[in-house]
C-alpha cells in the first residue's frame, strides 16, 4: 500500500520548496508551515487545489504566486469537487494520449470552515466517488480569514467573534466535530491526524496519503496566533501541547483500522505523561475567560470531554487498559 520512502532532515532541507517564501501569511502562522511540510512529501508531478481561505489568499495575490506547481482555486465550499474534476481530467486525457503518461498527484488544501462546515458535502461526495487525491485539512479552529468566526472545528469554550465570551455565555457552547472520525466512517483507505511539531510524522503521513490509491484525508492541527490570541513564537509549542494533553491525538486509520502514532503512543503507554488541558488552554487568549471563577466549570468539562475522547480512541486502537474490577 505504501512505499518504503524514508527521509532525513537533510533530504527535506535540500528538496526545493514547492510552496515558496514570499507569501503574506502572518508571523507564527502554522498553516503556512503545514503547507510547506506537506509539499515536501510530494513524489512527482502534482496539481494542487485550494479552497478559499487564508492560505489561498496569502499565497496568490495576483500577479504573484507562492506555488511552483500548477495550482487552482475556484471557491470556498468545493475543494473536494475541485480535486474530482482535476483527477477525472488527468485520467481521461492520459487514456486518450493528450497528456503524458505517468503519475500526476492531486492535493486539495482547505481550512476548517471549508471542511467541517461549508465544504463537507463536496468532500464527502468526492470520497464516496473514490477519486484518487489527498485532502489536507489545515485546522486553525475558526474562520480566521474573515476575522475569527466560529466553525464546526472550533473547540468547546473558545471565544470567537461569533461565539464571544460574554457575561453569561462562556464562548462556544458546542463541541468540536470529530471530522476525522467522520471521514473514517466513509470507509476510505487512509485517514490520519498530524501536528506540525511532529514534522517527520506529518510529512510521512502526507506521503502515505499521496501514495495510497483512492482518497486520503489528513487532518492537521494548525495554530493561528491572531485567532487564538497566542504568542506567534509559540505556534509549534502549542502544536506539541495539543498532542501531549491529548486534545489533538495523532493517529492513522488504514482501511478503517485505527492505530496510534508514536507521539501519542507515549501518553497511551505512560498515562502520567498526559498533561492537563489547562496547560494548553492557559496560554491562549481565546480561553482566557475560562480562568475566571464564573466560567471555570467549563475547564472541567473540557478535561472530561478530552479524556472521554481519548479513551474512545484508545479503544479503537485496541489499547484499552483492562477494566478495573468493582
Amino acid at each position: 500500500m505504501f512505499s518504503e520512502w524514508r527521509f532525513t532532515a537533510k533530504d527535506i532541507a535540500q528538496k526545493p520548496d514547492l510552496f515558496t517564501s514570499g507569501h503574506r501569511a502572518c508571523a507564527g502562522c502554522a498553516p503556512a508551515t503545514v503547507l510547506r511540510l506537506v509539499m515536501k512529501a510530494v513524489r512527482g508531478p502534482t496539481i494542487v487545489t485550494n479552497a478559499t481561505g487564508c492560505m489561498e489568499v496569502v499565497s496568490t495575490i495576483y500577479p504573484y504566486t507562492s506555488w511552483a506547481i500548477p495550482w487552482i482555486h475556484t471557491a470556498f465550499e468545493n475543494a473536494g469537487a475541485n480535486a474530482s474534476g482535476i483527477e477525472a481530467a488527468i485520467k481521461v486525457l492520459q487514456k486518450k494520449g493528450r497528456i503524458k503518461d505517468g503519475q500526476i498527484d492531486v492535493i486539495a488544501f482547505a481550512g476548517d470552515g471549508g471542511t467541517y462546515d461549508i465544504g463537507i458535502q463536496a468532500l464527502s461526495g468526492a470520497v464516496e466517488r473514490g477519486h484518487d487525491f489527498l485532502y489536507v485539512l489545515y485546522d486553525n479552529e475558526a474562520y480566521m480569514n474573515t476575522g475569527i468566526q466560529r466553525s464546526g472545528g472550533t473547540p468547546l469554550g473558545a471565544a470567537t467573534t461569533t461565539s464571544p465570551a460574554g457575561t453569561v455565555i462562556p464562548g462556544k457552547l458546542q463541541y468540536k466535530k470529530p471530522i476525522a472520525d467522520i471521514m473514517v466512517a466513509h470507509e476510505m483507505p487512509y485517514v490520519a491526524t498530524a501536528s506540525p511539531h511532529y514534522w517527520r510524522d506529518l510529512i510521512t503521513k502526507a506521503r502515505k496519503g499521496i501514495e495510497v490509491n483512492g482518497p486520503a484525508f489528513l487532518h492537521v492541527f494548525a495554530p493561528c496566533p491572531r485567532g487564538w490570541r497566542s504568542d506567534p513564537s509559540k505556534s509549534i509549542e502549542l502544536s506539541r501541547l495539543a498532542v501531549e494533553t491529548c486534545i489533538f491525538p495523532l493517529w492513522e486509520a488504514i482501511n478503517g483500522e485505527y492505530q496510534l502514532s508514536a507521539p501519542s503512543k507515549v501518553m497511551a503507554l505512560s498515562p502520567q505523561k498526559k498533561k492537563p488541558v489547562k496547560e494548553y488552554l492557559q496560554v491562549q487568549g481565546r480561553f482566557r475567560h475560562l480562568f475566571t471563577p464564573k466560567f471555570e466549570k467549563m475547564l472541567e468539562e473540557i478535561q472530561r470531554l478530552t479524556d472521554e475522547r481519548w479513551d474512545r480512541l484508545l479503544k479503537r486502537c485496541g489499547l484499552t487498559q483492562p477494566a478495573k474490577t468493582a
Binding site: 495576483y62 465550499e77 474534476g85 481521461v92 463536496a122
Partner: protein
Amino acid sequence: MKSVVKQEFLALNGDEAVAYAAKQADVDVVAAYPVTPQTIIVEKFSEYVANGEVETEFVCTESEHSAMTACITASATGARTFTATAAPGLALMHEMLFVASGCRAPVVMAVANRALSAPINIHGDHSDTMAERDSGWIQIYAENAQEAYDSIIQAFKIAENPKILLPVIVGLDGFTLSHTLENVQVLPGDVIKKFVGTRQFPFITGHEGKTVSFKLDPENPLTIGPLALQDYYFEFKRQQEDAMKNALKTIRQVHDEYAQISGRNYGDGLVDPYYLEDAEMAIICLGSTAGTVKTVVNNLRAEGVKAGMLRIRTFRPLPVEGILKALEKVKAVAVMDRCMSFGGCGGPVFHEIRHALYDALAHPYVVNYIYGLGGRDTSPSQIREIYKDLQRILQAQRVEDPIKYVGLRE
C-alpha cells in the same frame, strides 16, 4: 441550403439530441447531477459510458455546485467538458457560473429551461437562465430539438476558440423541447469530430515570464483562480467583456461553417428573422415559442397582414447591431418574455430590446408580453391577439399598456 454529407434521421427528444451531440463532440469529462427536465441528458450519457460508446470520465457529483466546480477544474486541466442542468440546479451553480467565466473555462452546458421555485414547478420558462444573464456565459436558445443538437456541437467550437474561451449555455425549453420527440437529422460522428477538432489552448505569460499553454500542466506550472484585488480585478472583467464582443463574430463564423456541412442555418446564428423584410409589426421571442409564432405569421401573411418575427438565438452576447438592422422597417414590436423581473420595467428581453432601440433612427412602438410561466401553454390564438394589439397600436398611434400578461387569470 443542401447538406454536403449524408445525414441520418433519428427519433430523438431534445434531451436525447443534446446527449447525442455531446457524445459526437468527444467530450473528455462530464460532471453532472440529475434534475428534471434535464435528467434524460445525463441518463443517456451514462448509457453511452456504460456501453463504451464514449471515451469520457463521467463524474456523477453529489450536487450541481460540485458538478460545475468539477467541470471548471477539469476544463482548466485541459479537458473538453460538458454538463447539463435546469432551474434549481442552475441556481445552485450560480456562484460557480461566475467562476467558470472568470477562470475562462470553456465549459458547455445544456439547460432544459424550467421555472424557479416557489411554488415548485418543473415545467418550462426562462426564469432560470435569465437570472444568469450577467454571469459571463454565452447564451444560445434553441427553437427545436434539431437546433439543440446543432447548437451543442457549435457551442464547443465557440467556447474553446482561444480568442473567446468563454463558457456556453444552450437553452432548450423544458418538456416542450426536452421531452418531445422529433425527427432529428444527425451528421456522421467522424464529420462532427473533425468539425469540433481537438481542444486548443491560448498561450499566456506564465511564471518568470515564460510563455506557456493556459492550463494546469505540471511541466509548465500556472496559478489559476488567484486573488486579484483593486489593482487587477477590473482588468480581468474587462477582458471577459472583450471576449464576449469577439464572440459575436465567432458565433456567426461557426454557425456558417456548420451550415456548410449540415445544410441548416438559423438566421446568421445570432438573430433569426422571419418575414421581416417588409413587416410593419413583429414579435420578438426566444426558444420554442418561435415555432408557434411562425405558424401565426404564415396565416396572417395569407390574409395580407404584414406580420413578421425576430427570434433572438444568441441572447449573450446580445447582437444589438443585428437586432437594429432586422427591425429597421418595423413600426410596432411586441417582445415576449417567458420570465419576470419583479418590480422592474417589464421582462428582461424587453429591457434589452427597448434599450437597444433607443439608438435606432426610427423608434418603433415596443410593448412587452409576459407569457408561459411555469410551462403554461401559449396558443396560436393568443399570439394572433398580440398581433391584433400591435395593429391597434399602429392605428391609434399610441401605446396604452406597455406590459401585458398572456393567458393569465387577473
